[in-house]
């Protein structure tokens, strides 16, 4: 038993994150996981709240939009309302993070489909697409919010 424990501790470890020089392909890879977790917990959480509020009726929907879709220009900064206002700002940032995570995860998901076919492993190609996905993820997020807010 002691022998087995020793062996487990002394097993060789593969070089980890701090060993490698960071490149866009590594960033895209770990951001796929990060954005996936954001969408799983934040995205699906808000989705269920939204569906539940819609099914609950106009009052429930007003409560939902009051928190998730608050008008940041008209927040109440007096007394106990300060906490609620801070939460509304955090929720707005959460919503922006979720929208970014959606575009990032979708784009790098499509990248995975391409890589699954065996294409795109050439070093330059791989790097170019990785950079493109990082940029496009932010651009699409900005475009989405512009479209929503400028309507």
């Amino acid at each position: 038993m002691a022998n087995a424990a020793n062996r487990a501790i002394n097993r060789p470890l593969s070089p980890h994150l701090q060993i490698w020089r960071w490149g866009p392909h590594m960033a895209v890879s770990i951001l796929h996981r990060v954005s996936g977790v954001i969408l799983s917990i934040g995205g699906l959480g808000v989705l269920l709240w939204w569906l539940g509020a819609l099914a609950g009726g106009p009052d429930a929907y007003a409560t939902f939009t009051g928190w998730m879709w608050a008008d940041l220009a008209h927040l109440d900064w007096h007394g106990g309302a300060i906490v609620a206002s801070l939460v509304k700002i955090v929720l707005k940032l959460t919503l922006i993070a979720i929208s970014w995570a959606f575009f990032e995860h979708t784009l790098s998901g499509v990248r995975h489909f391409v890589l699954d076919t065996g294409a795109g492993y050439d070093l330059d190609t791989n790097k170019a697409w990785s950079v493109a996905i990082l940029v496009l993820g932010v651009v699409l997020t900005a475009a989405f919010w512009a479209l929503l807010l400028l309507k």
């Binding site: 799983s40 269920l48 099914a55």
Partner: protein
């Protein structure tokens, strides 16, 4: 079970279970379903005149939108289950913690999907 040979030798003797690709494939299938349904919903939602209660309700009550939304919920909770399972398996190594987090994940995705689908049904069939 025989205890002859080294541990790796015993494992090799057993061979593969021949369903190692199942999770990998399901992740792709649910990912594709999520891609198609989310693009439809995104475009459709952005094209709404406003996001007031009555507008959104009327939008969801359409059979096509309700169907796509239901498929979106199924695909995403399934995809989340596979994805978070992989994350848990990568970072949670201790037996009891691993079992507990995986059990919680499986209960949560089924509960979440059931609630989402019930809400959509209620909106689509006009009970609310």
């Amino acid at each position: 079970m025989t205890t002859k040979g080294t541990s790796i030798g015993r494992v090799r003797g057993l061979g593969s279970a021949r369903h190692g690709a199942r999770q990998w494939l399901l992740e792709r299938f649910t990912g594709l379903a999520s891609l198609f349904t989310s693009l439809y919903l995104l475009v459709s939602l952005v094209m709404l005149s406003d996001l007031q209660y009555a507008t959104v309700r009327e939008w969801i009550a359409q059979p096509l939108v309700a169907t796509v939304l239901a498929l979106f919920v199924i695909a995403n909770f399934w995809h989340t289950r596979l994805g978070l399972q992989m994350v848990i398996e990568d970072y949670v190594h201790e037996g009891a913690n691993k079992f507990a987090t995986l059990a919680l994940l499986n209960l949560a995705v089924f509960a979440g999907a059931a609630y989402g689908l019930l809400c959509i049904l209620r909106l689509a069939l006009g009970v609310a």
